[in-house]
Symmetry: C2
Subunit: 355 residues, 2 copies
């Protein structure tokens, strides 16, 4: 069990993680680029140090880089000569994984690195906005490659499923970043294209006057800081590019079908999203019945157990020593989330609903 | 002043309009395709009759067709032989205007028709869900063409700005339907394309697991009944087709710029939507200060008046007898909403904020 954790950056994500760990009796040592949050952090039991070098010298078992992505290369370059790689496993909370790994490799720190990305946050930022509760029932993506050391992976993974109390899915960088492009980066471009379309129209005030809920929903994302949005998209450029071309193809093809009055094709277009509509419906039903109690039953070796309330399936999976990365990825693709390590090579996974 | 109004269809929109008019001492006579809402409607002072023909025979000054669009041709065919065109001006509340006008023309009723579309509604339907308050501070699009009789236009327009107490913009069908494609119909296709993209991916469960607010906002629209969405899009097919091709072009062009690392082009893309971002910001500020009281000051002939709170500009516009349609359209394009007819050819307009 991990007993000490280092945190670089006491912002919303890092600060909330530090507080969650400290309140659960993990030794937490933190460094922030300014000392403003230190007084409050110390009251929460977080040991705040004066430099990144001092943080490395404290030799935490896991060190999470929770700094903004734009200073990641600088943090890594400064850590490289001082980090005790024997003791400390390096992790991060960045929202893109491929770029971070390349920077970690450039700093020569790949051998002690395990990437991570918690699905947690609010619209606020800074330690003052931090709250351990943003990690309640959160899901983390853990990002690994063929060279990832399983012992180090286990340290990070069991810290998250154990003391933090969260679920994980284990992915490679490419799968993570492609999924992020799908659910966030490409939609940001699409939303911006919509407001550009309106802004360019001589009838923009008329369109804005007629706008209702559907327009509001589809363009809310485009109202966020365009510089931040652009940075996020450029960090995941290859995946965003592929997706945008694909979406453009879908829109053009729909326009063609509309032009040709091709009823069968239009029907197919609207039917193609039904798996996601059904998933959302089940997810909503899950939300409703979540209070009715979860079954703790278990069965061995991939045999499914339906709890009485039909909401959660839990199974135990044995992970192969060779190809564990692929086994975890396949599990994530099936919609399974790891909730517990029973043994180093045996995990309990749960499925709430799947697309 | 209009003293009697007929309503076809006591659903959410028609029922709420009937109740608003009845509570404000307009004689309201209504017909619904079944008598279920009649008892409740009668308690609200609405005179309910047994047939569409009986409704026509009551000779209301304005008759609003509030039936579903799919039965519009049938309603019009049945009305054509019985409507007293001298007394009654025909209007509707349909969400597409070009198609309705074509159907009105086919029924030979064009000479007494003035199209309308209130921006009002909730996610519910039926008379039981009706509420006069859905018209509080609502905006209507009034749709006219070169042949529209100004006296009939005035009847409908002053009914809405007067007793209903709403704002109006006056458009031609094409402008209305193009704007509706922009803010609703095309976004529905875009949202569906996003869920299709996810549903088609082998990583769909991973993407769904990582999804947060931006994905939720962008796909909520795609969760609505696909058959209704499809019908709505087909009713406005030409405009939707043009917009989708344009959006596809914007996405492809962004993908090209991303591929080429064309910083200037990417910057231009995010800057192009700034007029809409600024508009939303002003709109939000308007919302905040709306309770601080509206100025009732007025000035003549297009000279702008800034109320003390800087929120609303009000001006008086004189409408030319020849080309009034165009004068109203230009006013709507400037972001002005008609709030009052001072004289038949003189209106007060207000601008809250503009794109």
């Amino acid at each position: 069990m991990v007993k000490s954790v280092g945190i670089v950056g006491l912002g919303l994500i890092g600060g909330s993680l530090a507080r969650r760990l400290a309140e659960r009796d993990v030794e937490v040592v933190a460094w922030n680029h300014h000392e403003k949050p230190y007084a409050a952090a110390r009251r929460d039991g977080i040991d705040c140090v004066g430099s990144l070098e001092a943080l490395a010298a404290a030799k935490p078992e896991v060190l999470f880089l929770c700094n903004p992505l734009k200073v990641m290369p600088e943090m890594l370059q400064r850590l490289a000569p001082v980090l005790d790689r024997e003791t400390t496993t390096l992790s991060d909370v960045g929202s893109v994984k491929g770029m971070v790994r390349r920077q970690v490799e450039e700093a020569g720190l790949a051998d002690c690195f395990v990437g991570a990305h918690p699905m947690a946050g609010t619209e606020f930022s800074g330690f003052a906005a931090s709250d351990p509760a943003i990690y309640d029932d959160a899901l983390w993506a853990i990002s690994v490659d063929e060279t990832t050391d399983y012992e180090r992976f286990l340290k990070v993974a069991t810290l998250i499923t154990g003391v933090v109390g969260n679920r994980i899915i284990v992915l490679d960088d490419k799968t993570h970043d492609r999924a992020a492009a799908m659910i966030s980066h490409a939609p940001h471009v699409v939303s911006t294209a919509l407001i550009n379309e309106l802004s360019a129209s001589p009838d923009r005030n008329i369109a804005a006057a007629l706008a209702a809920g559907s327009w509001r929903d589809m363009t809310r994302v485009a109202l966020t800081d365009p510089d931040r949005t652009r940075a996020m998209i450029e960090e995941d450029a290859d995946n965003v590019e592929v997706l945008l071309r694909d979406l453009a193809g879908r829109l053009t093809s729909f326009a063609d079908d509309l032009h040709a009055h091709d009823d069968a094709a239009l029907t197919r277009f609207f039917a193609a999203g039904q798996p996601f509509r059904d998933y959302k419906l089940r997810e909503r039903e899950f939300g409703k019945s979540q209070d009715s109690g979860k079954s703790e039953e278990l069965k061995e070796s991939n045999e499914s157990v339906k709890p009485k309330n039909n909401d959660i399936e839990r199974i135990v999976i044995t992970v192969p020593k060779s190809g564990w990365q692929r086994a975890f990825l396949d599990s994530a693709r099936r919609g399974e989330h790891v909730i517990r390590f029973i043994q180093p090579w045996q995990v309990e996974v749960e499925t709430r609903s799947k697309v």
